[in-house]
Amino acid sequence: MAEIDKVPRIEITDGALIPDDAEKSIFSAWNISFFGALLILIILPIASPDPFLEILLFVPDGVVTTFQVTILSIIFSLVVGLFAGLGRLSRVKVVNRIATIYVEVVRGIPLLVQLFYIYYALGKVVQLPRLTSAIIAMTFCYGAYMGEIFRAGIQSVPQGQMEAALALGMSRTQAIWTVIIPQTFRIILPPVGNEFIALLKDSSLVSILAVSDLLRRGREYASTSFLYFESYTVVALIYLIITLFLSKIVANMEKRLKLHGRV
């Protein structure tokens, strides 16, 4: 019984600040960081509109791009990750080997290097828009992480689910797609949420390819006004507010999942 009701929890996080139940106080680390950052971001432009209001009006374009890169990359990496995860569990040796090599290669190369490499390697074949290259590179990298999450998720679905499906005459493939994968999605929701936050932060790396994300917009402002400190203060605060907000959502998701079991 207990085994059936329990929602397996996958502990894969890059260390985003996840509020936990113990921190109920209004002076929890999350509250202080989030509302502190928000307050500073509101006070600064009021107290000194020049330059802070100007910066605050200049960079939000970048927020849109940052989310664009993040959301598209996460969607594509979920697809890649699903197949990477299935590949890692495949009984077909070749498939298994290819998936494992993919994961190992990605893990062994810094994301920034991958970004440069894919951008210039792709450039040799076809000239893609920078944003597209950036998304491809992020997908390539995060697809591997997602693959590991999917693998763990698939493995955490109790063996009995597959057996019950097979006993009814279903094929292994039918069982995987109609029984195992749907349950995997529920289990991996929180770790995927964490990856989303991690990806959002890592997406700042695409500014190196001159994609006008949040960081890049800050830098553009800084390099014309020479107000480096001010610009990057605003950029950092915006990143912080976004990631803290998202981590709250992920934490709530996790709590709901725990409360309701597998409804």
Binding site: M1, E163, A167
Partner: protein
């Protein structure tokens, strides 16, 4: 036409060094209800799981009517449709409602149209007394209710044989009866059943045959009266003293 509905011949199953099944022989006629008893680890589950090839025999053969389960050339999926299995832990699909648990295999395996599958599922839920639970997820059902849905799910495939592996061992005592009642009805309707269970009440009410296993061997086979009241083998006697 084969003489027996289930035929197990010289069945052996090894897990590494463990001989889970040693030269088991058993014939079960159409409509027979067979109770399998024996200590934990005696190979009861293994025998059941070899019948629908969740495990593959190391040697020997098993037939369901004329279909040879152990023949690599047989379409095992086709055979499995005819062999319903009920597990100790229910193994209901956790992400699906009671109704969808029943319709899933109908729509994916038998390609039954959705409406038809749902109508069949509703009938089956009524049969196990759970008409009001159609849209409820397994997590919100009691153990007894889950097991009844699991039985309905297996019956949906219209099987020729039903295998029950300790269907009531994971249940709270007050829920055992509701599951056994469903099984009794099935037995009365003439379903061929193999039941691993130590429920004496069920054995006396429904079993045509009792099989006692120990250390992977079938030690003794007989009517419930013979096996329970005058066991021939010493090991059977010792075991019965333990559980009675």
């Amino acid at each position: 036409m084969a003489e027996y509905r289930i035929q197990i011949k010289d069945a052996c199953k090894n897990f590494g060094d463990v001989q889970a099944l040693r030269n088991a022989n058993l014939n079960i006629a159409k409509g027979e209800v067979v109770l399998v008893i024996g200590p934990s680890g005696s190979g009861k589950s293994t025998m059941l799981r070899c019948i629908n090839k969740l495990e593959t025999l190391s040697s020997g053969n098993i037939w369901i009517d004329d279909d040879c389960v152990t023949d690599p050339k047989s379409d095992i999926r086709k055979i499995r449709e005819d062999v319903g299995m009920v597990f100790q832990n229910f193994n209901l699909f956790a992400h699906l409602t009671a109704l969808k648990n029943i319709t899933l295999a109908l729509t994916t395996v038998k390609k039954t149209p959705k409406e038809e599958a749902e109508a069949a599922a509703k009938k089956l839920l009524a049969r196990v007394g759970l008409s009001d639970k159609e849209n409820v997820y397994p997590g919100q059902l009691s153990g007894g209710q889950q097991q009844r849905v699991a039985i309905a799910r297996a019956l949906a495939m219209n099987p020729r044989v039903m295998l029950f592996d300790e269907p009531t061992s994971a249940l709270d005592p007050e829920m055992i009866k509701e599951v056994l009642d469903v099984m009794l009805d099935l037995a009365k309707e003439g379903m061929t059943m193999m039941v691993v269970s130590h429920e004496m009440g069920f054995a006396k009410a429904a079993a045509d045959k009792v099989v006692f296993m120990d250390e992977g061997e079938i030690i003794e086979t007989g009517t419930p009266l013979e096996v329970f009241n005058s066991p021939k083998e010493e090991r059977t006697k010792t075991f019965l003293q333990h559980i009675l």
